[in-house]
Symmetry: C2
Subunit: 304 residues, 2 copies
Amino acid sequence: MAERFFERLALVGIGLIGSSIALAARRSGAVGTIAIATRTPTTLARAEELGLGDAYFADPAEAVKGADCVIVCTPVGACGLVAEAIAPALERGAVVSDVGSVKAAVIRAMAPHLPEHIHFVPGHPIAGTEHSGPDAGFAELFRNRWTILTPAETADPAAVERFAGFWRSFGAHVDTMSAEHHDLVLAITSHLPHLIAYNIVGTAADLESGIRSEVLKYSASGFRDFTRIAASDPTMWRDVFLNNREAVLEMLGRFNEDLSRLQRAIRYGDGETLYDLFSRTRAIRRSIIEIGQDTAAPDFGRPH
Amino acid sequence: MAERFFERLALVGIGLIGSSIALAARRSGAVGTIAIATRTPTTLARAEELGLGDAYFADPAEAVKGADCVIVCTPVGACGLVAEAIAPALERGAVVSDVGSVKAAVIRAMAPHLPEHIHFVPGHPIAGTEHSGPDAGFAELFRNRWTILTPAETADPAAVERFAGFWRSFGAHVDTMSAEHHDLVLAITSHLPHLIAYNIVGTAADLESGIRSEVLKYSASGFRDFTRIAASDPTMWRDVFLNNREAVLEMLGRFNEDLSRLQRAIRYGDGETLYDLFSRTRAIRRSIIEIGQDTAAPDFGRPH
């Protein structure tokens, strides 16, 4: 029998991540019951149709009553307001977490509202797809993916470990680090790639109409992969960039310097600079395959 | 019985594209025999081990003797030298083509060497994977993908149509357009995406070592998709950028202007500009799925 980590889980927000947690927790037996809250009535009704939880609430404060684990699964920009709303109703000793892609700003927004008698363990499951909403969730989403926890130094180690076990029961690997370090690492591995993808797809969208239709037609030549990334949830990503500004601007600055160098190499026909970079990057791809973060199966020719 | 378009096909260069053409032509019955030439002895030996052709040559001029279809499958930068080498040995009436990702520069490099008694029909199959070499080829590579032909206005329509039929026998869709138009469209759909991917992977590689190892570990958050693109063949891509300079610099200029606007929006907390773009790009993704250039299956969570 699987271990039960919490008696009652409350999920505030039930998009891709919230619904995937609900499905994974149900399957692993990690929780007893699941309470779901979202402010959008149609989304709440859909969550109930899908049978994602045991109880459904428009008011997040109602949902967290009696819960020993609360996970805020809204876009980052809403976390502060949610914390304010649920604070008076939180149970003593409950673990309170989130799933935001930025951590320092979420902590700044949530922590001031939270009572001292709960355990605040912010989290970020590094998993997702380009789809969103309660229909997009699936229980396998977190399997063999990392979930990063960024507990405060004063957090109760037993509560952190209990919450890590909850995530591991979904097949996730769990790491803990400081919120600031998380935000810097994610700025380069996630936030900047998304910004670049959004930008190039936008550049293509603004092309003269004669070329634009052909961009779609011939998109298999590279562009297609960027459009998948640039199809991610707009609200979530707006909030990420507004809330991890310093780290993103730092990494964007480095990216721009490097791109200027490549631009110059192209302009002046400096093949050596181009070849050297293109060889180095190929080696990085091999490292990613070696550590199991992707497969070597050729993906450009999909469907396989 | 499938239609035979040519009696003898000569492939000069036997990497991913050349070997895929050999396998596809064998399977479709589009040609009688296949002659293969490559200047690298180990590659030639490997092609023979794999049974990709019927005859193998170190000298491309030997390979094209008796061939009524010759396709140069080397990196773009070698096309001119190959044309010079094979010109005296080309059969009267043969179709001569290539598979380069840029067309105007290839035509400038090859055309001056080619005799008037052949039909020069430059081509570009928009298909590939991040792997290279004769082992990477597979017969299905071109199925449901576009092959663009850029024949000169003086080219014999019957020869062009015959060569288009040859490509269609692999399951490819065939389009014809001017070399200049091809180069502009591919600059935005293919060349710029590759440049951006190479650049961001390079930026990550130059990070302080403490962060760099974590970039690989957490690469599933977006970065991973860029590394796949940035694992493409270095020689091929160096040649692409050196040979489509004007169009790439034009598109890169637009990309940079747009990126500056995003950078400013992040710095000044302008969420509306970010949200507007991120919504527009999502619509483009839907268009690509509607026209069948990719599937809606969520790919971020791979393996499925």
